[in-house]
């Protein structure tokens, strides 16, 4: 069982893709989130094999990403998106995986759109489910002319599994500045 303490070190950051825009334009951000590296490292093929054997075969992470504008007193929500990423553990007959990993339980990803994602490496599979990168766009009038401080919070909900208790991870970004120009 993985300790809950390791989950307190989730990281998030917001990256402004258009740090400056005219008042009629739009500003885009990328909000990145990652489970703590120590947690990601602790998930191994042995972990998922043990989970599979106990019929613990769907690992679902529900992400809630909130983008906000810092004000003098309150943080005004600009956008909030919720999505789910899943792993389905299955018994693979793929010779390449059997040969490379000497393992037969393998994750299949399900993305936000409900489409399957097949992985060639276990690191890719972990990156898929335990990190998120969300694009968010706001219109310039929503921010107003001048400098705005934009931040984000990300929550990741996990349910109980053989290797971890249920709970929610939360991480906040350092705010970034964007400039809206009067045209």
């Amino acid at each position: 069982m993985i300790s809950r303490n390791v989950l307190n070190r989730a990281t998030a950051r917001v990256v402004p893709l258009t740090p400056q825009a005219g008042i009629n334009g739009t500003v885009s951000f990328r909000v990145e989130f990652s489970f703590p590296q120590s947690f990601i490292d602790s998930i191994t093929l042995d972990t998922i094999r043990a989970a599979y054997k106990q019929y613990d075969r769907r690992i679902r992470v529900r992400y809630t990403v909130r983008l906000y504008k810092e004000g003098a007193i309150i943080k005004r929500t600009l956008r909030e998106i919720t999505f789910v990423k899943k792993w389905i553990l299955y018994w693979t007959r793929a010779p390449d995986i059997l040969e490379k990993y000497k393992a037969y339980i393998w994750p299949l990803g399900v993305d936000e759109e409900g489409r399957a994602v097949f992985f060639n490496s276990f690191d890719d599979a972990k990156k898929f489910i335990f990190t998120s990168s969300t694009m968010m766009t706001v219109t310039a009038p929503e921010l107003g002319v001048g400098e705005s401080r934009i931040g984000a919070t990300v929550k990741a909900r996990l349910w109980r599994h053989t290797f971890i208790e249920a709970g929610t991870l939360e991480a906040s970004t350092e705010p970034v500045s964007v400039q809206i120009l009067q045209e």
Binding site: Y55, W91, R93, A116, R160, A166
Partner: protein
């Protein structure tokens, strides 16, 4: 290398464990198939050589929006085959992947097993039996050119296979001994099972062994000729007929075009539900898939389902021949969408394992392993349609129920309960919320699907599922494999099995895809040579062949079709 790692910690074998004399496959030492520039690799799997059954590495890849399989045998060369006719649907459907509960009461030893040899089942198998086939005879009253499953007189080594009632009881006991979920659904099949005069006794024996659902797979001809049989079978315990029905014209359905309406009428009088089973072959009857649904709609009072079966290409075929006939589940779904002008669209279909969240929810609230349809997503698909009597249209369930949302919600509630929340609180929430997934304004008049769903979820018994089925027409797809598209990942999850007198439970796609290891061997071991059977029974095999009496009678009447056939097919074929 060895094909799979064996799970040594699995449960102890079943006491009826049996060693088999099936030749072990050669190991998967084939070269990896090379990719091409215009292809997008999806994944690897294992398959077999269509010539020598050697286990091969196989590449699943996308090209031109379709999914293909390629494998290379060091002796017989490369085989490329259409695997799934739509890449987008492949990705959408594979997201419902769900491995089942495994076999905890295996009938064959694990360490002698290397799929697909020695099936029977072992603890590598991932699905319990969803439907168990019992062949009661391999005699048939028809001689269809594409059928692989009837005894042909004159062939060397032709055997009549007819297990005794005691053997059948033993087979059913083996099915009921499955763990963690005992088998509860049997299909009596053949040949043509109605050729056995003791069929009612067989049905009663199966029911007495504790099976709830007994389905009779037939061409319907005997029932058309002797309508009283429908009542006899119904009273003996048959739940429904599973009747071949390949098209709505004599050309596309030479098998029982003239007889099926009479059989349906007999079932109507007996109150015996009918499932129509079209085998779909590209270029032969794929243009009639929607007409078949319309025929079912006209008889919706007694036809419960249409289960399309894209053809399985058995025997040796050239690539050109295979391309001519090969059709896959997405192709049939697309044809239905096109011919129905969107009345039943591609988005209305879901893969069979999409039912699993319902099972997960019921398991979470009952704390007991439940019956689960955990087959591979590429094996089957389905949807429910309802008749809007006011508009005389079929309305797919997805038009008024948020199926995707419901599935996701139930899966999440199951996770909540498994994470420690109070199950009674969660059940209360589900009971209150279930109706919100149904758009009452679009629901066909007279239907209360919210209540039916409630009963399925909270009563979760055979009768509530039956009630749900009775109010709908189920449209299904089941694509059995052949040696060209054989995928070990599909076979490992197969839940349609055969019960055999040596008390094995053999997956359909082993039994029929590699008949030389399974079907033929069983029939030879437990059958009698045709000549001997004829001597014992004082009749010739061909005595029971159907000679087309109803067709001849209809032609003799001069209309080209009898009144009943005319009435049932009018509005479909445009005949008067």
């Amino acid at each position: 290398m060895t094909a799979i790692q064996v799970d040594k910690e699995s449960v102890e074998p079943h006491e009826k464990q049996i060693w088999l004399l099936v030749p072990r496959s050669k190991e998967a030492d084939s070269e990896s198939p090379a990719g091409h520039q215009d292809e997008r690799p999806i994944k690897m799997t294992q398959s077999i050589c269509p010539e020598c059954n050697r286990i091969l590495k196989a590449q699943i890849f996308e090209r031109g929006g379709k999914v293909y399989m390629r494998k290379v045998c060091p002796v017989h060369g490369e085989t490329e085959e259409l695997y799934y006719g739509d890449y987008d649907m492949y990705l959408k459907f594979s997201a419902y992947w769900d491995d089942g509960k495994k076999q905890e009461a295996p009938n064959v030893k694990m360490d002698s097993c290397q799929c697909p040899s020695n099936c029977g089942l072992c603890t590598n198998h991932l699905s319990h039996t969803g439907l168990a086939n019992i062949i009661v005879t391999n005699r048939c009253d028809l001689t269809c050119w594409y059928c692989f499953f009837y005894v042909k007189k004159g062939l060397e080594g032709a055997y009549v296979y007819e297990p005794t009632i005691e053997q059948i009881r033993e087979m059913v006991r083996a099915l009921r001994a499955e763990r963690p979920v005992p088998g509860n659904s049997v299909q009596i099949t053949g040949g043509e099972p109605t050729l056995r005069d003791d069929l009612p006794e067989i049905i009663r024996a199966i029911k007495e062994e504790g099976v709830d659902h007994v389905q009779l797979n037939t061409n319907g001809i005997n029932i058309a000729l002797h309508p009283e049989l429908a009542k006899i079978y119904r009273e003996a315990g048959v739940s429904n007929l599973y009747m071949s029905f390949d098209g709505v014209t004599a050309r596309t359905n030479p098998k029982n075009h003239w007889e099926a309406p009479y059989a349906i009428e007999a079932c109507r009088k007996a109150g015996l539900g009918v499932v129509l089973v079209p085998t779909v072959i590209k270029g032969i009857n794929d243009h009639e898939v929607y007409e078949i649904i319309k025929f079912a709609k006209q008889n919706i009072d007694i036809v419960r389902a249409v289960n399309f079966q894209p053809v399985s290409l058995t025997g040796r075929m050239t690539k050109k021949e295979r391309e001519k006939y090969r059709i896959t589940i997405p192709d049939v779904i697309k044809r239905i969408e096109d011919f129905s002008q969107g009345e039943i669209a591609s988005d209305d279909w879901f893969p069979v394992p999409s039912c699993s969240p319902i099972t997960h929810f019921i398991e979470a609230i009952t704390n007991r392993k439940q019956y689960e349809l955990s087959i591979h997503f590429a094996c089957g698909a389905g949807t429910y349609v309802y008749l809007d009597r006011e508009k005389d249209r079929l309305v797919p369930i997805t038009r008024f129920v948020d199926i995707k949302g419901l599935i996701e919600y139930l899966d999440e509630v199951a996770d909540d309960i498994n994470s420690g929340t109070n199950k009674y609180v969660e059940m209360g929430k589900v009971a209150l919320k279930i109706g919100s997934f149904v758009d009452k304004s679009k629901e066909p008049a007279g239907l209360d699907l919210g209540r039916l769903l409630f009963e399925v979820l909270f009563k979760h018994d055979y009768s509530s599922i039956g009630k749900f089925q009775m109010n709908s027409l189920f449209l299904g797809m089941m694509h059995f494999q052949d040696k060209y598209n054989h995928d070990e990942e599909r076979l490992q999850r197969c839940d349609i099995h055969y019960l055999t007198p040596d008390l094995r439970i053999i997956p359909f796609c082993s039994f029929n895809v590699i008949p030389e290891w399974y079907r033929d061997r069983i029939q030879k071991k437990y059958g009698v040579p045709v000549e001997e059977w004829e001597r014992q029974h004082n009749e010739k095999l061909e005595d029971r062949l159907y000679r087309g009496q109803l067709r001849k009678q209809a032609i003799k009447e001069g209309s080209g079709a009898s009144c009943l056939v005319n009435e049932m097919l009018s509005g479909i074929t445009g005949q008067p």
